[in-house]
Symmetry: C3
Subunit: 267 residues, 3 copies
Amino acid sequence: MEVCSDRRVAASLALEGLEALKRARPLIHHITNDVVTNFTANVTLCLGAAPVMAPSVEESAEMAAMAGCLLLNIGTISPIQLDSMLAAGRSANERGVPVVLDPVGAGATALRSSAVFRLMESVRISVLRGNAGEVLQCAGAGGRVRGVDSAELGEPDRRIFDELAGATGAVVAVTGAVDYVTDGHAAFEIPFGHPLMGRVTGTGCGATAAVACFAALGGRLVERTAGALAAYGAAGSIAARRAEGPGTFVPFFLDALASLDETGFEA
Amino acid sequence: MEVCSDRRVAASLALEGLEALKRARPLIHHITNDVVTNFTANVTLCLGAAPVMAPSVEESAEMAAMAGCLLLNIGTISPIQLDSMLAAGRSANERGVPVVLDPVGAGATALRSSAVFRLMESVRISVLRGNAGEVLQCAGAGGRVRGVDSAELGEPDRRIFDELAGATGAVVAVTGAVDYVTDGHAAFEIPFGHPLMGRVTGTGCGATAAVACFAALGGRLVERTAGALAAYGAAGSIAARRAEGPGTFVPFFLDALASLDETGFEA
Amino acid sequence: MEVCSDRRVAASLALEGLEALKRARPLIHHITNDVVTNFTANVTLCLGAAPVMAPSVEESAEMAAMAGCLLLNIGTISPIQLDSMLAAGRSANERGVPVVLDPVGAGATALRSSAVFRLMESVRISVLRGNAGEVLQCAGAGGRVRGVDSAELGEPDRRIFDELAGATGAVVAVTGAVDYVTDGHAAFEIPFGHPLMGRVTGTGCGATAAVACFAALGGRLVERTAGALAAYGAAGSIAARRAEGPGTFVPFFLDALASLDETGFEA
């Protein structure tokens, strides 16, 4: 597969999406973990979209039906929350609302593995966003990895991601030092971002929120996902230049996301 | 109805309340949504009051009975949480503890609409704080609005709010570019605040927390509510002058709330 | 009992632990309250450990078995969450994983008192960290205190804490203007910290997270706990010098925790 690793292409996908978000202001329905609710709602707002969280099964499907995108994040999953995700996911599928899945900690416990399995079996996923370990678990290649921290991606891993995209119809987005985004036909390498992001809780979940915002815009999903991760990573680099540590990183990062323009992608 | 829109009156209501909070340090019991727990607890602390969150139905009524004010926020409502709110609300009513309701997203789903209906039917609400769309829904005038973002309030809307206050006995506080606070007999326009507040998650919920702190002080509720929103808006203006975006706004806003004095209300 | 109140001893325990955490990067499993999830996850990351939150009873015991330490915090306890804590606590005990308990608001309601009682009865607690009022409640001496704010500790209180440590086998850590840490045989006074920490939500819960990180290192628990509180307090003092209020305190505090070295303990 040919992989586009041109920074200018990624930057232009990011900028086009940011423009479109400011016009469209799509509603993004998050069913997510308890740790990142506030941060990912703010990521969504900073990108120009409107976050809503309707976790209860009694309303999650109704809310999903009126959303521009549904985000499912299993970081603090329970059987009750899984039922709500399944209901919302089916509702989104019926209405053609894209569904973005973040398989946080997939493979770490039986509950998480079975939750991911049931979600991928019952709901048509538009984008799967995780780190390499989590996504390999989703591909059933989990025996090869330990834990959730991943080293640089090698060629064999990338083929697994391409095949997972082909088999499921989902865009597969694997984030790390360099992000890899594939739909099985086209792929992007996204070189932005900063190591400090790994020292702040929820930065992975926030990347998924950015992907959900861009996915709500319609268009070619693999490009939207690449654009979202490029925007997210560029804001991270800007914030890292100003921050003195993981604490000050967060406010600077949200500011950078909210004001991101072409200057943010210059080397 | 005569509407007081004198900035100096609002400022003096704010400053009087802030003084009193530092002396009384009332306990504010929040049953609230998952997104804003940390932020609204910090708003409460910055104003000089003591936050507590006891969400479980097994203790919410007991905690409400010993609180200075009970805050109910339906932003991530579930049937189980609604039961806890009803128990806490009845307990507060029995003890004369004021109850402040934030009908987040009222009208957006059947669950939210029925939750608001049951709360208003079963619990005597002291102050209802929402944006125009949410409060119109509470007034049964929901057919006239779409979504939760509201344009400037017109005269017809204000009459609905005055009537809702008269019918329910609650102070009705509608926040927006200019806030409107009415008890059906007297009304205030609160002109403070800043557009940046609309780009940060939970700023509406935080305004409700400020109202709950001021409501715990006793005295005339419509004035307490006006004072709370004036203090909250003034802190927002101070923070907006220093912030470079929605991320840095939050820490500067909490600092401004915690140190607010008469200089914060100068034009 | 002889009490060590030498700042240099506390500082060296802190620095030794920080070094060891950067090498070991232990997994800390938090089952905690809704208000502080994000903050305490970031405290854990800033200290060099890896936070995970697996609240559901369907996975909490499995996650506890693979953790370096289990943290239990009852700040928003429910019967369902208590069941999960009990399962995780027993699993940790079986594997020799230390368990750190934060009895937030013990004594405030019947639910909290019975939760603390059941946890201390069913799970072998390694470290109990609370303020004086909470810990006195755990010692069954609750009739002597009101609420959760505590004045300076007197000699009689300290004897109760020493006896509680002796009776339970847990290190008892009582935080306040000066922290007191005892295992019934040796005790430490930790003089770092800053009053501004009392005006930010979750700083007590964050101290417990720091203790959990240090407890995961093994070694002598009373020293690890003293080192954790010294590190936490020193970071608080650094942040307080830079902060303009409780809002800016938080990012500066996390930065200080993440970069703490010997200069942070100079007077």
